[in-house]
Symmetry: C2
Subunit: 242 residues, 2 copies
DNA sequence: CCAGATTTGCACTCTATGGTGCACTTTAAC
DNA sequence: GTTAAAGTGCACCATAGAGTGCAAATCTGG
């Protein structure tokens, strides 16, 4: 027990002054909203919590471990979040925000792409697949799957921060392209859903539930195949057979 | 503590003699291989373990709860499986076998379907989607996502029992159909992957990670849309536009 | 340099649970 | 019926981890 204490203390200090692990790095970049006290340990805690929760699962993750990872005293965590459940919810919400922002940014790049439609779709598709296969995205997805039966309200937290808005944004872009005569789509929402499915559908098994990092070449080839099939179904001019 | 004991005992007895919950029902149907002792509590334990693990997650699930659910003494569990981890692995393996068998059966129905290709694909697709959306399938998927970082070897256990063999079987069928001139497919494996993606890709958000049961009508419409898109891309005769 | 807020270290409580030991009962097979 | 295997009930151990209290240290704004 005493030995554990000592080790925790050492890690804590190393993180605080060394700032090597990433949690503290992120915290430095986030000292904006309502920063009272020090350089807002809040963000560091959220980052650390997500990391540890994702690695160990909610039940296995100990608040002590999160504190150590964040370079913070356990008490500070309870000061900020009250209890472990709240911490989980906030950590997931923060991470979902980050992930969705990335996805939306990717989709938005369809807005003023005026070259070949295939090139545009492949570019955006590739970016979307990259986001989907990002380590943190997989961690978030795993964590959601893991805890959804224990915390059904996570769905509400994710609601509006997850795939849904991204698909809608994509549907918007596809509708515009269709209106401009570049695609032939009757139901943009459905088309967006299907494009998303084609892009990400095979990632689960390919990446072995996110435990294997996929080479970029593989992402490219999946993207190309997905866009190819998509254009066969929704392209404006009937494509000559491959 | 005493009160908990009492309650557990009551549930246990109710299960043993009433056989109402499903675990015991299943066990009765499985007293085949190597049944020594009683009517093989083994299967009842596996079923109960899967149920409880899926509901609570590995760490939260208590062996006592599993014993109660199975209508069995805690000791019996340890007699059969040694420890909690082994129990998890075996429960998952058993459930994966079950799920894969269902999926393969669905795919096999493509073998001697000689009518309209669209009808055949929609029929099989619908069955596949149903399997995918089955409560137990979702539970298995959630459990895998949840525990994969704690037990990476679950991948090996699932290997050969999961989506992979199903996709391969589907690729086989598609290849035959292509050879018979009913489809125009250059890469059957890729086509199978894409058909699978189109069928199941939108289920995650639609069913809210499997926490919402989808009306069969919705499954049908998704299936129809998936097959439609698939045939646009891989149909033998270029379809007239919708 | 001061005051108030924040953070920290550490000890401590309380509860939960995996796993075991043991004596006793039930079951299946001969 | 007898017997050995399988199952049961219960007490028990050891450990671990959430959450709290408190006094001392540290920071931040003025």
């Amino acid at each position: 027990m005493v030995r554990i204490r000592a080790r925790t203390g050492a890690v804590t200090r190393a993180l605080r002054y060394g700032g090597a692990v990433g949690a503290t790095t992120a915290s430095a970049a986030a000292g904006g909203a309502g920063s009272r006290g020090r350089i807002d340990k809040r963000q560091a805690i959220l980052d650390a919590a997500f990391t540890v929760f994702a690695r160990e699962g909610y039940a296995q993750a100990t608040v002590d471990a999160i504190a150590a990872e964040a370079g913070v005293a356990k008490h500070t965590i309870y000061n900020h979040f009250g209890d472990k459940q709240t911490l989980l919810r906030q950590a997931i919400a923060a991470e979902a925000d980050r992930a969705m922002a990335e996805n939306l940014a990717a989709v938005e790049r369809l807005r003023d792409h005026d070259g070949d439609i295939r090139v545009a779709l492949e570019s955006v598709g590739h970016r979307l697949v990259q986001c989907y296969c990002d380590d943190r995205s997989w961690a978030l997805r795993r964590l959601l799957y893991a805890e959804i039966s224990q915390f059904p309200d996570l769905l509400d937290i994710i609601q509006g921060r997850a795939a849904n808005p991204v698909t809608e944004a994509l549907a918007d872009r596809l509708a515009r392209l269709s209106l401009a005569g570049r695609l032939r789509i009757s139901d943009p929402a459905e088309a967006a859903e299907q494009l998303g499915a084609l892009l990400t559908g095979s990632m689960e098994s390919r990446s072995r539930l996110g435990t294997r990092r996929l080479p970029d070449a593989e992402l490219h080839s999946v993207t190309r195949a997905a866009v190819d099939t998509f254009l066969h179904a929704f392209g404006a001019e009937p494509p000559e057979n491959t």
